[in-house]
């Protein structure tokens, strides 16, 4: 995991500033926004896919507008339904971590019990 974390450091921070906050949420999503979201989602897209998703997400988001018929100014959100909070467990080792078995799940070569990934820079 440590190796992965190091590798992740390269990940460029892309704030959503390029996507302007809108008040009018009925405006369909733009092609540029789809490009940006796809990048944040780490998804590679062909021009045809960009077109298709722009159209599909537009109509899905348009449908979501129905929610704005409801006045929720005095309603609390429900993020989960169990009512559980702060579920703690004792900090003890309950079983051996199957390190070799977990590493074997990776399709990549292993070295010194670490997964060897592609270079971060070309």
């Amino acid at each position: 995991m440590r190796l992965l974390r190091l590798v992740e450091k390269k990940r460029r921070r892309t704030p959503l500033r390029s996507v302007r906050a809108r008040n009018d949420i009925s405006m369909p999503i733009t092609r540029d926004q789809i490009l940006h979201i796809a990048k944040l989602s780490r998804l590679e897209m062909t021009p045809e896919e960009i077109e298709r998703y722009t159209e599909q997400l537009g109509s899905i988001l348009e449908y979501m507008d129905i929610l704005h018929e409801v006045d929720t100014s005095k309603v609390e959100p429900t993020f989960q339904v169990t009512g559980l909070m702060n579920v703690f467990s004792d900090d003890t080792v309950s079983r051996k971590s199957p390190r070799e078995e977990l590493l074997a799940c990776s399709p990549l070569p292993k070295e010194k019990q670490q997964i060897k990934v592609k270079a971060v820079f070309e």
Partner: protein, 483 residues
């Protein structure tokens, strides 16, 4: 020759205990059924015939030694391919996990195995549970056993097909917005979505963490009760389970439904409900009345906002849960990538079905700065209102009765190009999911030769109640089996 494909768990238990047939015979008959039917019905991604034989021989040896066997011992089961199974490929129905062999069992699977159930294989499904037809997959698409040009429903489509056609006695599926109830209704078996937090999800590949539940598919609610009693309850490996005692769900079948109040939510019988489905469900309600239940009209006024709220909350959680698939930890990797970043982009684009990509993008959008309040927070507030609707209704009635799906099984390909139309398939199953309430789908007749499901919804941890009603109804109405 026994007709094992319609046997209940109790029948199997009695037969094995009395040595009327052996476990090897039973398991072979089920595997034979898979062999005969599955090239046409596509219910399985993986069949674990060798392991199943070995388990069956062990059960037979135990019986031969004169030892007592448990109720589930030797009972053939299948699992949606979303359940981690030690040493057996687990794909989540997605190419991005092809070849992934988990080093451990999900808690529910471990509990079933230690109760002696025999795994026959892993079922086809919509990738990661994303769909209502099982068409959104990198593997084969299950077919409706009543008409193979139609869908099995989804996302636990393969499991519903396997159980309905006698390729497994029961199956575990998952239900996030209707994924057990809807395929059960469309194929004609019983499907339980329990209360959120009733069954451990440790080792079940996550889709939307505040909504996901492990569900059970079987040919009767009695069989469901046996399985539920075995797998429900606290698990140190899943911190989302409230400490609620697990009752003996089998005991409920001695209870009468006489005098129980059943609410009919008017919003579930409005526009968009197919006539044939409406007729069967209305007849089912009259049946419940004839069994001594008191029928009452109720209103769940926020029902129509359920789909919109769900398709914000679910993709938002999906976008977070799908972040772990990177072509590095498991599944195939993009070998042609030049650097690490390209590994991520290419592995994900090639591995995920377009529906998964769509949900990741909707979620990423809904959670992003400037949109969070308008979408995600708004949807969670609507969720509160949907939950309150149920709580008010359950102040007046014991259970609710409604349709499961607005239509019978639709044609393959009919909705696969129109995501919004597909989302609408979940309109009557989503509200109970948002509220975390348990609900069961029970076959209640046929419309145009295709099964219709009756949905019985209960309050949180009201599984006993809904299974009591389901069982009373089943005793009255016997489900036909597809030829």
């Amino acid at each position: 020759m026994h007709n094992f494909s319609t046997f209940s768990i109790q029948q199997i238990h009695k037969g094995l205990s009395a040595k009327r047939f052996s476990c090897v015979e039973l398991v072979e008959a089920y595997l034979q059924r898979v062999h005969e039917l599955d090239s046409k019905l596509n219910a399985f991604i993986t069949v674990t015939a060798e392991d199943a034989h070995e388990k069956a021989r062990a059960v037979d040896a135990k019986i031969a030694r004169g030892e007592q066997i448990g109720l589930l011992e030797g009972v053939p089961m299948s699992l949606k391919d979303l359940f981690c199974t030690k040493g057996v490929q687990t794909t989540a129905g997605s190419k991005i996990l092809e070849g992934f062999v988990p080093p451990y069992d999900a808690t529910s699977v471990a509990r079933l195995k230690s109760a002696g159930a025999v795994l026959l294989g892993k079922n086809t499904e919509d990738e990661f549970g994303h769909g209502a037809s099982s068409e959104n997959t990198g593997f084969s698409v299950p077919r409706n056993p009543w008409d193979t040009s139609r869908v099995a429903g989804g996302s636990s489509g393969g499991s519903a097909v396997a159980v309905t056609t006698g390729m497994a006695v029961f199956a575990l599926g998952t239900d996030t917005g209707g994924s057990v109830r809807q395929p059960a209704a469309l194929c004609g078996c019983v499907g339980l979505k329990p209360t959120y937090g009733r069954i451990s999800r440790y080792g079940v590949i996550a889709m939307a963490s505040s909504l996901d539940t492990v569900g059970i598919l079987a040919r009767s609610s009695q069989d469901i009760a046996v399985v539920l009693s075995t797998i429900a309850g606290k698990d140190p490996l899943d911190s989302t389970l409230p400490d609620v005692a697990v009752p003996d769900y089998l005991a409920v079948f001695k209870k009468s439904v006489r005098g129980m109040k059943v609410g009919i939510p008017e919003e579930y019988f409005g526009e968009g409900l197919e006539d044939g489905v409406r007729k069967r469900v209305e007849e089912a309600v009259r049946t419940l009345e004839s069994l001594g239940m008191i029928v009452k009209q109720v209103s769940l006024p926020h029902t129509k906002y359920g789909v919109a709220a769900y398709y914000i909350i679910c993709p938002s959680e999906v976008s977070a849960n799908m972040a772990r698939y990177d072509g590095i930890k498991y599944g195939p990797t993009a070998n042609d990538a030049r650097d690490l970043s390209e590994v991520y982009f290419r592995s994900r684009s090639r591995g995920f079905h377009p529906e998964v990509q769509r949900r990741i993008m909707i979620g990423t959008y809904a959670l992003s700065t400037g949109y969070y309040d308008a979408y995600y927070l708004k949807a969670q507030k609507i969720r509160t209102l949907v939950k309150q609707d149920f709580e008010e209704a359950f102040g007046e009635v014991d259970v609710l009765a409604a349709p499961v799906s607005p239509t019978v099984a639709f044609q393959l390909g009919e909705k696969s190009q129109d995501p919004l139309a597909m989302y609408m398939s979940d309109v009557f199953t989503i509200p109970a999911s948002l509220a975390g309430m348990p609900a069961v789908s029970v076959p209640c007749g046929m419309s145009d030769g295709l099964p219709v499901g009756l949905q019985i919804i209960g309050p949180q941890f009201g599984e006993e109640r809904i299974l009591t009603v389901a069982n009373a109804f089943e005793n009255f109405w016997k489900t036909p089996t597809p030829s």
